[in-house]
């Protein structure tokens, strides 16, 4: 029997993977071939999807991108024997783009069958939980603190400290909430984990529950991800069936169970307190802090709220040790980051590597520059609230502090590349428009300021009292920064001001005037 792998991840499906599978099945029937098709996650090399991997004595040989109409030709050419072909990239794990990564959180994604608990266990799954049970609640938190893991959802808050706070509150009903709202443009790492290795998230949440004494968890999943929903629900059922969720997790005496809740298309519900309101059945309005969710969170109970990647990284930290993880990275940014390359880029995909690689290396070397073939002009890092960086800042290392020092943020690790046809005044306008559409409405600078911001940018572009309106825009941005309750209104000025600072010519503004104003 010949085993081949074709991803069921929605990124691969969006590029035609289902038709390729059907064509292989049909061809096998017609030719009497004995093949088994495993539906794995994606390797993250989306410019090669649908990628077909054939198991051979040398390893898995990859072919991509494969169109359904070309499947028969490929079979003629000997794809099932791993023979050379112009679509062949050789053994996938030896392929430089793939091989040069440090895959810790994503170690299994693309390798295993995400629906199979046996496969998960055969590839090191649930080794972290085993160690966690040996270490006990305090031991787990120590290990996570040692690892230096910071929240991967955007704010970069140390995960271990958050867990310690919840663990230290008196015993009562506590919750683990996984933030799977992944709303930033340019990001898909959470989706890839949920579809490509859902058990690792379940294991991470279970370990979190044991660490702090929480017996129930919720995954708040954005409604734009129907495929993730199916994958997660199937995995949760399988884990429960196997006794890895429920009243007696893996025979340990600890109880932990969980469910998936669907969001309803509101970006602001990615903000943690707004997410909690939404889970409670209310409008997703941001709550003032304090109280912290760690003290008074979901349904008024102490709650850990972490991003998908943060939680999915905990099993490997428990398995290999906090020190092992901490030894990757630079400065206060420890471990690895799944960086997502998006926009107008040749090699769009997910690249997991230790912190410290420069923005230029990511965009030019790893991403291969634009797919349009035109020069890269700007990159937005960190989603719709992240700054636009020009080429002059490409030496910035990927590190929370280094980006902050240049008025940027790494957020959830999404990098969106634009070529030289981009109009940066339009991008600044869109940042305000997005803020206006998604504002929860609680504070005036965000709710009204964003609408006014669009108008002011329109006037600047139309050269109506340009100098005066440029000042008004800067003033408005400052008001939003200082007067907003959460980062939606507070950070929307970053894309706007960075566009204006680095690309003043698109606003008809003079670079010198801006420098003088600083």
């Amino acid at each position: 029997m010949i085993r081949i792998y074709i991803s069921r991840d929605s990124g691969a499906l969006a590029l035609g993977a289902e038709a390729v599978v059907k064509r292989f099945e049909k061809a096998a029937e017609e030719r009497g071939l004995d093949i088994e098709i495993v539906r794995n996650g994606s390797r993250g090399m989306y410019w090669l999807e649908p990628l077909v991997e054939v198991e051979t004595d040398q390893g898995r040989v990859g072919y991509g991108p494969v169109r359904a109409s070309k499947v028969d030709d490929l079979i003629e050419a000997g794809i099932l024997e791993g023979k050379p072909h112009e679509k062949c990239i050789g053994v996938v794990e030896e392929y430089p783009w793939f091989k040069n990564q440090t895959r810790l959180t994503f170690a299994r994604v693309g390798t295993t069958d995400p629906r199979s608990l046996e496969d998960y266990k055969a590839h090191g799954g649930y080794a972290g939980l085993k160690k966690a049970l040996e270490a006990g609640p305090d031991g787990i938190i120590e290990e996570v603190l040692t690892s230096g893991l910071r929240g991967r959802g955007g704010a970069g808050f140390p995960t271990g400290i958050k867990w310690r706070t919840v663990a230290d509150t008196p015993p009562q009903q506590k919750y683990i909430v996984c933030n799977a709202d992944e709303g930033d443009s340019g990001t898909f790492a959470d989706r890839m984990i949920m579809e490509g290795d859902p058990f690792v998230l379940i294991e991470g949440m279970t370990i979190a529950g044991i660490a702090v004494g929480a017996t129930y968890g919720y995954i708040y999943l954005r409604s734009e991800y129907p495929h993730s929903s199916v994958a997660l629900r199937a995995a949760i059922d399988a884990a429960r069936e196997a006794g890895l969720l429920g009243d007696n997790v893996a025979g340990s005496g600890f109880a932990f169970d969980m469910e998936v809740r669907d969001g309803a298309g509101a970006y602001v519900c990615g903000e943690e307190t707004s997410l909690l309101d939404s889970l409670e059945g209310k409008r997703g309005e941001v709550r003032a802090k304090p109280p912290l969710p760690a003290h008074i969170g979901l349904f008024g109970q102490p709650t850990i709220i972490n991003n998908v990647i943060s939680l999915a990284t905990v099993p490997i930290i428990m398995d290999k040790g906090g020190e092992f993880y901490r030894d990757f990275g630079m400065g206060k940014s420890r471990g690895t980051m799944p960086i997502q390359l998006a926009g107008n880029i040749k090699h769009g995909g997910l690249y997991e590597t230790a912190f410290g690689v420069t923005l230029g290396q990511l965009v030019d070397d790893i991403g291969g520059g634009t797919y349009s073939g035109r020069p890269v002009r700007a990159v937005q890092v960190g989603g719709p609230l992240g700054a636009y960086f020009p080429r002059e800042l490409f030496d910035t290392p990927f590190d929370y502090e280094a980006f902050a020092a240049r008025d940027g943020l790494i957020g959830h690790g999404g990098i969106v590349v634009f070529d030289d046809t981009v109009d940066m005044a339009k991008q600044a306008h869109f940042a305000m428009e997005f803020c206006a559409i998604e504002s929860c409405g609680k504070c005036t600078p965000c709710r009204i300021g964003s609408a006014r911001g669009m108008e002011v940018i329109d006037r600047i572009v139309a050269n109506e009292n340009r100098a005066e309106n440029l000042e008004i825009l800067e003033d408005l941005c400052n008001t939003m920064k200082l007067g907003s309750l959460c980062a939606l209104g507070g950070f929307a000025p970053y894309p706007v001001m960075s566009a204006l600072t680095h690309f003043p010519e698109d606003f008809g503004a003079d670079k010198k005037r801006l420098e003088a104003a600083e």
Binding site: G183, S185, D262, G265, G281, K282, G349, Q427, F430
Partner: protein
Amino acid sequence: MQKYEKWTSERAIEIIAQHQDQKGATLPILHALQEVFGCVPLEAEPLIADALNITRAEVHGCVTFYHDYRREPPGRRVLKICLAESCQAAGVRALEKRAKEKLGVEMGGTTADARVTLEPVYCLGLCHSSPAAMLDKDVYAGLDEERLDELLKEAQA
């Protein structure tokens, strides 16, 4: 082929009852109603308020806050085009224009023959292969004019 059931309060009460015992049941109820009726009509609000023992204003606030909920059933198929930054960088604005012209509707509109509702969406997590779109629950990426036209045809079929 009628895709959605016609609204009746009996059926709505039945659906609400299936979900009302969950903690924080509002969103699960609204999702379930929309799944069956294609929308959450105004008449549903007092029924939900009643079942959950909250005010009608709270339910109304919820329905109107979230972008996903509709007041009227959509066309037979819903085509969402991603308009967020990564898709913009890959030229989605031109595709958006083309889709609007070919369907003869604005964003949020439904074609005269009630076949297609066109909506914006802000990121489908397919930005590695922007531009992207979603037709009901099927996803499409790496769109260009040719693939968009195929998609529009499929949507109108």
